[in-house]
């Protein structure tokens, strides 16, 4: 279980999160919606532990552990996964090399035996096949020359291989056409399980047609201002964020 309590955070000296409360149980999919500048991406970076995002108040308890006390790589090894809005390019490093380094670093952290080349190959073939992806993508350098859709699918593949307990999807729909969006959503849905929680961050309701959440929260001006079921998303689509004191052309 993940419990976010009264979370305040600053970026460049500016208060962005001003008391976020959120509880996510195993297997649940929560969506965070909100206008630009509400603090959606800040929340995802704070949870993942990015430098420069300073927590000034509040706590995040992750399966009994103080998440905020952990280094980013420790959080990852404990099962926190962030699917990036803008996946980063790493020239010269093959996707397979990157994934193998990642999974073995996590296994090492958890006191598990590292996978040898054969075991890893078997695992990754299985996962790419399940996601309907080509082996060719594995040989390419991490995200280099990938289309927007390929980058997001690559994030999904990483998630499938790393098997997180808590996946944060930051604006996964941004930059995707509807076909690519469907493919990525299918991949994400395939990874839903009773043990895995997800936090889906999005500006638009569109994504939630394909990744249907259990709960929807509205984040505005650094606070969760309204929570509800999946129907809340449709309401927002219709009325925009105006009801929450935000003036924004939808």
């Amino acid at each position: 279980m993940i419990e976010i309590k009264n979370l305040h955070a600053k970026v460049d000296g500016k208060d962005i999160l001003k008391g976020v409360d959120l509880t996510i149980r195993p297997g649940e999919v929560h969506a965070i919606m909100g206008p630009n500048g509400a603090g959606k991406s800040t929340l995802s970076y704070v949870l993942a532990g990015r430098e420069g995002y300073e927590v000034t108040e509040g706590s995040v308890t992750y399966y009994g552990k103080d998440l905020l006390a952990l280094e980013p790589e420790q959080r990852a090894a404990e099962g926190v996964f962030l699917a990036f809005q803008y996946p980063v390019e790493i020239p010269g490093v093959a996707n397979t090399t990157f994934l193998k380094t990642a999974i073995n670093a996590m296994r090492k952290h958890r006191g598990e035996k590292e996978l040898d080349a054969m075991q890893f190959l078997k695992l990754i073939r299985e996962k790419t096949k399940a996601l309907g992806m080509s082996d060719e993508m594995l040989k390419r350098a991490v995200n280099v020359g990938f289309s927007g859709g390929e980058k997001k699918r690559n994030e999904t593949l990483q998630m499938a291989v790393l098997e997180p307990k808590f996946a944060i999807l930051d604006e996964t729909d941004s930059g995707l056409d509807i076909d690519a969006l469907k493919i990525v959503a299918e991949g994400v849905n395939a990874l839903r399980s009773p043990e895995r929680s997800m936090l889906v961050i999005t500006h638009y309701q569109r994504l939630l047609d394909y990744i249907v959440p259990d709960h929807v929260h509205v984040l505005a001006a650094g606070r969760v201002v309204k929570s509800g079921g999946k129907e809340l998303a449709l309401e927002l689509e219709k009325n925009g964020y105006r009801d929450f004191g935000v003036n924004e052309a939808a």
């Binding site: 993942a48 430098e51 990852a76 996964f81 790493i90 490093v93 670093a105 790393l162």
Partner: protein, 494 residues
């Protein structure tokens, strides 16, 4: 993108760089008195029992050297070197030259074992028999301070007519070859450090591959400076006769000492018609500590002559060590259709300085050269790529492609690219590409979010950056080099 303040702090807080070869060996040595004069030159020559012509050559070089000045054009700075305050000869004490490994001081063998250098011929042979066809064996020549202590696989190579031995031995046994080629690529008047080397060189490796022979194994020389206050001046000479092929690797380490030590080597390569020489270096001399105290001054002249048509010389270097590196492995492309290649990774951390690059001199028709240089700077290190591409009037159809990429870690280091291009033939095609990048905080965070600790992330990213060059190394050393890349940058972030 600006570096995170944390990153900069961590760079500042870098402590002693982990240098695992920093030990010294307690061994009795024959050391010449400090200082440099004609008597010392004569002393070295006499110690080596050299013929008169070689002594004369040394003395000529010494006299020229006295009129020369240290080159000042490189972007490196260091206090003046007192050339009289060093020993120019140090050798492990032995009654006579070792005839077999059993006569070599066990301390020496232990040192090499510690360094991971296999010298025990029988052991390697035993290993090879069991794994025939799997991994090619490596013949090793080990140079300790100034003296070649052991060369392995000699007998096996001799069957094919290949000569692989200490250059001092070659002087005795193959004087005609040595006389013909020594100084034929790097003349004794060449430059301050090379000329000094001509006067006082003590040992090094000699390789001759006869016509049409493909050397069946990697040849490797392992250089080790042990003695304090000594300079190391090796001389390597490799001759690949028509249609032959050889791959050669040199490795270097030195103990951790507070004073700077001078290493001024000369390497000459000669490739005849259709011959190929591949020369790889993994240079890991002691780089000095995190405050910039100590370390090797690596002032080396390396040059290859593609004398024959269709000949090829390929330099691959991974430079991670030395306080200062001044080194430009070059190719003189004299034969028509000859090919020169230079693949380089240079990593500088803390206070290291490197001014390195290559020279490609196109003389023959349709000569081609490729330069791929990857420079990585961290800490307060300064690095310069300096390269010359020169096309002479008769080099019809010459081509060159140069690619220089620099990667910066932190905001206190520097990378500089100084290409010189001179073309005197209108049909020549010359391309130069250069990029400078930083390891971005985005990349580091992305890796860390995937569970990879910051230092491992740096190593991963840098290895990716160098991939094009590392893949040129012989298989056996590629893995080693990858690890070295990681170790050299330890403490540069996180």
């Amino acid at each position: 993108m600006a570096a995170q303040p944390e990153t900069i702090d961590q760079v500042r807080a870098v402590t002693e760089q982990k240098y695992k070869y920093g030990f010294t060996t307690d061994i009795e040595s024959d050391v010449a008195p400090k200082g440099l004069n004609e008597d010392i030159v004569r002393f070295i020559s006499a110690k080596k029992n050299e013929p008169e012509w070689l002594l004369e050559w040394r003395l000529k070089a010494f006299r020229v050297w006295q009129t020369m000045e240290e080159p000042q054009w490189a972007a490196v700075s260091f206090p003046p070197i007192d050339y009289q305050d060093a020993h120019y000869y140090a050798a492990p004490k032995q009654k006579a030259g070792p005839k077999s490994l059993d006569e070599v001081d066990p301390e020496l063998l232990k040192t090499y074992a510690k360094l991971g250098i296999p010298l025990r011929e029988q052991e390697i042979l035993a290993g090879v028999e069991g794994s025939e066809g799997k991994s090619p064996a490596i013949a090793v020549d080990a140079v300790f301070d100034s003296v070649s202590v052991a060369t392995t696989f000699k007998a096996k190579l001799e069957e094919m007519g290949i000569i692989f031995c200490a250059i001092s031995e070659a002087v005795q046994k193959h004087p005609d070859l040595v006389k013909k080629y020594l100084g034929s690529v790097v003349p004794y008047t060449d430059n301050f450090y090379a000329t000094l080397n001509c006067a006082v060189f003590t040992d090094g490796s000699f390789v001759y591959i006869p016509k049409g022979v493909r050397c069946p194994m990697e040849l490797s020389t392992y250089f080790r400076i042990n003695q304090a206050n000594t300079g190391q001046f090796e001389r390597t000479l490799i001759i690949a006769d028509a249609g032959s092929h050889v791959s050669y690797l040199e490795g270097c380490t030195a103990p951790q000492r507070d004073e700077n030590q001078l290493h001024a080597a000369v390497v000459e390569l000669v490739a005849m018609d259709d011959a190929t020489i591949k020369y790889s270096t993994v240079q890991n001399w002691y780089p000095g500590n995190a405050e910039g105290v100590g370390g090797i001054y690596n002032f080396v002249t390396k040059r290859g002559a593609c004398r024959g048509k269709n000949s090829k010389i390929s330099w691959t270097q991974v430079e991670t060590g030395s306080a200062i590196t001044w080194k430009y492995p070059s190719c003189i492309l004299q034969g028509d259709n000859s090919v020169g290649e230079f693949y380089s990774v240079a990593i500088t951390n803390n206070f290291q300085q490197a001014d390195t690059g290559t020279k490609m001199i196109h003389i023959g028709k349709n000569t081609r050269s490729t330069i791929v240089s990857k420079g990585i700077s961290a800490g307060k290190a300064q690095q310069t790529y300096r390269g010359l591409v020169k096309i002479l009037p008769k080099a019809e159809g010459a081509r060159n492609h140069t690619q220089c990429d620099s990667l910066l870690i932190g905001d206190q280091c520097g990378a500089h690219t100084v290409p010189y291009i001179e073309s005197r033939n209108r049909s020549a095609r010359i391309e130069h590409e250069a990029t400078t990048a930083k390891i971005s905080d985005d990349q580091l965070f992305y890796c860390r979010q995937r569970g990879i600790a910051e230092e491992d992330a740096v190593s991963l990213i840098v290895n990716g950056f160098c991939k094009e060059v590392l893949k040129e190394l012989p298989m056996e050393f590629a893995v080693e080099a990858q690890k070295l890349v990681g170790i050299s940058l330890e403490g540069s972030v996180g």
